[in-house]
């Protein structure tokens, strides 16, 4: 292992791992990479939440002037972009990283260095996108960047360039990770870990990787077209040249709809782990949960134009997409029943994780109901582009994804850190979140139906919207307190939480057979699996007794830490960033810069590929 720089961090298991900044920069251990994703995503959660808070202050009363209209556009654009791409997806990635190898009985992912690369690209990409704030030119075209607003003619600053380049960078991160996890799940399962014995989280993660693989190339091309229009004067979205600005919408939503399933399925997976544990019952209808997940992914590619019911596609298109959209409600709704029946008759323990999981069931259902309402094109003509839609997607994304991810954090923090989070503080976090969330988003159903448009900077008094908006803003302040409580819980539990031990919850899946936190090699002995809940069998797998041995002592070859993924990621992001110079009018410098960074990146890549992953053994 790499030499430890300073005194090793005290681990609740007493196992010594490399510590110091370098060990984190050069890590290829999936657990550390998962931790990096988690902390980075939570930091962006605070940023995105702060952006939301400013929005709610502006909208607290009619004709607010807390921020300018331009600033407001940046706030809602960055709030959405941050929460989707810099928070929910990376939080899911944190869990993919932490859990997948542990749940399938593997020692790491298939391509550990590619894994590290994905994280560093995410970090540098997220920083790049937010550097725009420092220039006062944060993206301001909405998180979905509709054309022709995003064209050079209507958005002449750097705002949209930061947005599109940032998203392209993040796409590389997600795609690389998807290839990694697909290979890992297909190819690194322990003996006996058949596909239909995998934990549901791993199943949902598996489905999500395919969604990523298929959806991200489409938005990549959509962004390429926008980029070429803005930088090179092409005509992809220029109506005057005969093009159709709707092309953007189609391409974006062909990505965008699978994207929302990418956002929710990991949370569904986490809930499917939490509920059985705290009901002390296996998940009800495991095969149905798996197949409905697969159906959602497949059907998810056929519903995209339900985001476009108001653009005039014609009755045939509207009908087709309305039908597919209503159809996809079925596999989604089925899971709700699976979860409820899991709890039915179970021995329920209402830990914080359980509260959040149940919270997801309740709140996602509400969001799902409003979603089905949008599926009808005539109804959607009233609802689209109003706060009714804002209510819907916050119920499914906050009430759904975030609640599920919070449940995952409370449930898996002990495994990652080795200590329990405070249940008392957690309960406060839960209720403040739950109440705050409902205060903020429930009134939006009414204000939306009354006609309050989305993305509106101000609204006039006397339209019946004042009270709803006031309540929403109060809810946001309650949520802010909830977030502070949560951060406090995370921070203080690191040292003060009770030592967790291998399996504090009495759970059923393989990750709980190991010490908390697990040693770098995960399993001293790869287990053989004979059921879906190995830990609930009469003879569950056990980690060896006595002091934990190192990988070297056990003769387990470990991948060498390496800084190369970080370097290649850095050069790649700098290459993309150099494109901004084109817009600033420094064409030659841009070309020189892009070529230089591309060459450096390729050199780094060659160095990486020609270096063996591990020492020969």
């Amino acid at each position: 292992m790499a030499t430890a720089a300073t005194a090793p961090a005290p681990s609740p298991t007493g196992y010594h791992e490399a510590s110091g900044v370098w060990s984190w920069l050069a890590t290829v251990d999936h657990k550390r990479i998962g931790a990096l994703y988690l902390y980075t995503a939570l930091a962006w959660f605070i940023v995105g939440g702060f952006e939301a808070l400013l929005i709610r202050v502006q909208l607290q009363g009619p004709n607010g002037r807390f921020v300018t209209a331009d600033m407001y556009n940046m706030l809602f654009t960055m709030h959405g972009t941050t929460m989707v791409f810099l928070v929910i997806m990376p939080l899911s990635a944190a869990f993919f990283n932490l859990l997948i190898p542990l749940q399938i009985g593997a020692r790491d992912v298939a391509f550990p260095r590619l894994n590290a690369f994905s994280y560093w690209v995410y970090l540098f990409g997220s920083l790049f996108m937010n550097v725009s704030w420092l220039m006062g030119q944060a993206p301001d075209g909405g998180w979905f960047g509709y054309s022709p607003l995003t064209s050079l003619q209507y958005s002449s600053g750097l705002n949209i360039d930061f947005w599109l380049l940032g998203l392209q960078i993040l796409g590389v991160s997600s795609l690389a990770a998807a290839f990694n996890f697909i290979t890992t799940i297909i190819n690194m399962r322990a003996p006996g870990m058949q596909l239909m014995r995998m934990p549901i989280f791993t199943w949902m993660a598996f489905v999500v990787q395919f969604l990523l693989v298929l959806a991200f190339p489409v938005i990549t091309i959509a962004l390429v077209f926008l980029q070429f229009d803005r930088f090179f004067g092409t005509q992809f979205y220029e109506a005057a040249a005969g093009a159709d600005p709707l092309l953007w919408q189609h391409l974006f939503w062909i990505f965008g709809h699978p994207e929302v399933y990418i956002l929710i399925l990991p949370a569904f997976g986490l809930v499917s782990e939490v509920l059985p544990t705290f009901s002390r019952k296996p998940l009800f209808g495991y095969p149905v949960v798996v197949f409905s997940g697969i159906m959602i992914a497949f059907l998810g590619f056929g519903v995209w134009a339900h985001h476009m019911f108001a653009v005039g596609m014609g009755p045939m298109a509207d009908t087709l997409f309305a039908m597919t959209t209503m159809l996809i409600g079925i596999p989604t709704g089925v899971k709700i029943f699976n979860w409820i029946f899991t709890m039915w008759g179970g021995d329920l323990r209402f830990t914080t994780a359980m509260k959040f999981a149940i919270g997801l069931i309740a709140l996602f259902t509400i969001g799902g109901i409003s979603g089905v309402m949008h599926a009808s094109p005539p109804a959607d003509l009233q609802q689209t582009d109003t706060y009714f839609i804002v209510a819907h997607f916050h119920y499914v994304l906050f009430g759904g994804s975030m609640m599920g991810l919070f449940a995952g954090v409370y449930y898996y923090y002990p495994k990652l850190v080795g200590r329990m989070m405070s249940e008392k503080i957690g309960t406060w976090h839960f209720w403040l979140s739950f109440i705050g969330m409902n205060l903020t988003f429930m009134p939006m159903h009414w204000s939306g139906l009354m006609g309050m448009p989305r993305r509106t900077w101000v609204y006039d008094a006397g339209q019946g919207l004042d009270t709803y908006n006031m309540i929403s803003s109060v809810g946001a302040y309650v949520q802010a307190v909830a977030v502070i409580v949560f951060m406090w819980n995370l921070w203080s539990s690191r040292k003060k939480g009770a030592v967790a031990g291998n399996d504090p919850w009495g759970a059923g899946t393989l990750e709980w057979s190991m010490p908390s936190p697990p040693p770098d090699y995960n399993f001293a002995v790869i287990p053989t699996v004979t059921s879906r809940y190995p830990m609930w069998e009469s003879k569950p797998p056990r980690s060896p007794d006595g002091p934990m041995k190192s990988a070297k002592e056990l003769g387990i070859p470990m991948p060498n830490p390496t800084i190369k993924p970080l370097i290649v990621a850095l050069f790649m992001v700098l290459m993309f960033a150099s494109m901004l110079l084109i817009h600033l009018g420094h064409q030659q410098l841009a070309v020189a810069s892009i070529i230089t960074f591309a060459l450096l990146m390729v050199l780094g890549l060659y160095s990486w590929l020609l270096t063996p992953l591990e020492d020969a053994h």
Partner: protein, 112 residues
Amino acid sequence: MSDHPQSAPHADHGAEKHVHPTWSTYWKVALILALITFVEVWVYYIPAFAASKAFVPTLLIMSAVKFAIVVMFYMHLKYDHKLFRALFTGPLIIAGATMVVLLFLFGHLVVG
């Protein structure tokens, strides 16, 4: 290249002991590819046929055959583990369906 540890026991074909296309199969495929390409270009230059309704479907079928034989024989999907077939045909179906729907939405395919 980097020495990847988690490789299959047999270095050349993986653990699958499959039938391998022969040397002559490869040359035959190449011949068929060349022939079909020749025919495709030939019919392009027959004005009567090129203007007919059969033109586009004929060309599509011919390219589909070329596509299929390269995938099945050169990328030896025919001989490999079923997994690879699944990994390829799934995305191919979604891609194809997406293209068809997009063409319909942009008015290039008239339905009904």
